[in-house]
Symmetry: C2
Subunit: 164 residues, 2 copies
DNA sequence: CGATTTACGTCAGCCATGTTGACATATATG
DNA sequence: CATATATGTCAACATGGCTGACGTAAATCG
């Protein structure tokens, strides 16, 4: 129990260290979503809308199926927020060309505007944390978090558009 | 736009890098909570119960007020899950000694059992990610996430019990 | 070509968990 | 004694998950 923790010793798996890691994730996520949530409320939207706007912005032309795989929610849950976003003019659906069953999703200019507004806040928060922590720390952040993500999505991370 | 990203160059704040950081947080959180959520469902509980059980376990004798400050939810929201946890015998409330208005919260043996079961899963997930990434990466993970947490809670992180 | 699968949508209802607002009680504090 | 604090409670509402059932159009398979 002596001093087997932080530093270069690879055996840092004390319960307290692990709990700190858990809490960091909880607090960071809590504070990371607070501002966007407040902005969304002004539009009558919620966090679910943000996720949809975010990933459609990130993957223009994404299909509903792909979006469902990312969000890991049911199509009924997605349909509800998607319908609102389409109705209010933030997202457009275009029929697929190769597969006409698909509804390819795109942000409208209005959607892009909101996306930028929402994500700007998170980008600047991350940017600040990155800057303060330094490049090596960023690499560590990335590799630890990537290690927590289930395999199926790990690949998605550095490859914005799946080969479709 | 050349190669100003990962490595030792401090100017890595490209939009894509920041977005990757955002997505890492989203995916890690999503996968981090999936298993505990499934276990909780067997007890008729949800994620909110987990958070209460977790922080009461982490800070035995915590007051309701302190717990509210950590969770950042309303007392009405907390009261609902707390009542269920007390009723079902997972948490005990003891009147404070110095301040008898307080209800100090403790896990019962049964509560500790569930806490262990839930958190074990997250601990092992973190432990694996820590092991695979290495000690330096862990330090980076900690410092970047800490930088994202609002000031008021940053101090809480390495100091399990506030001076109360 | 016909049967089946796939992509997507929709209706209905349920549950968990957040919110606001109002009010009550016991205790501490000035 | 007046006021502030810690806690609890009732009621109503919104968001965003879920299941189950059903429908349609288009692709794919045998």
């Amino acid at each position: 129990m002596a001093d087997v923790n932080r530093g270069s010793n690879p055996l840092f798996l004390r319960d307290d260290d692990l709990r700190e890691g858990i809490e960091l994730l909880f607090f960071a996520y809590r504070d990371f979503t607070a501002r966007p949530d407040a902005i969304l409320a002004e539009y009558g939207f919620g966090r679910a809308h943000h996720r949809v706007i975010y990933f459609v912005g990130r993957h223009p032309g994404i299909t509903v199926k792909e979006l469902l795989a990312i969000l890991k929610i049911t199509k009924q849950s997605l349909a509800r927020v998607l319908r609102q976003l389409v109705t209010k003019g933030f997202i457009e659906q275009h029929q697929g060309v190769q597969d006409r069953r698909q509804r390819l999703l795109h942000l409208t200019p209005r959607g892009e505007e909101l996306e930028a507004k929402l994500t700007e806040n998170q980008r600047s928060r991350i940017a600040r944390a990155y800057r303060e922590a330094g490049a090596d720390a960023v690499a560590g952040y990335r590799s630890v978090l990537a290690g927590m993500v289930d395999d199926e999505d790990r690949e998605r991370l550095n490859r914005p558009r799946p080969p479709s």
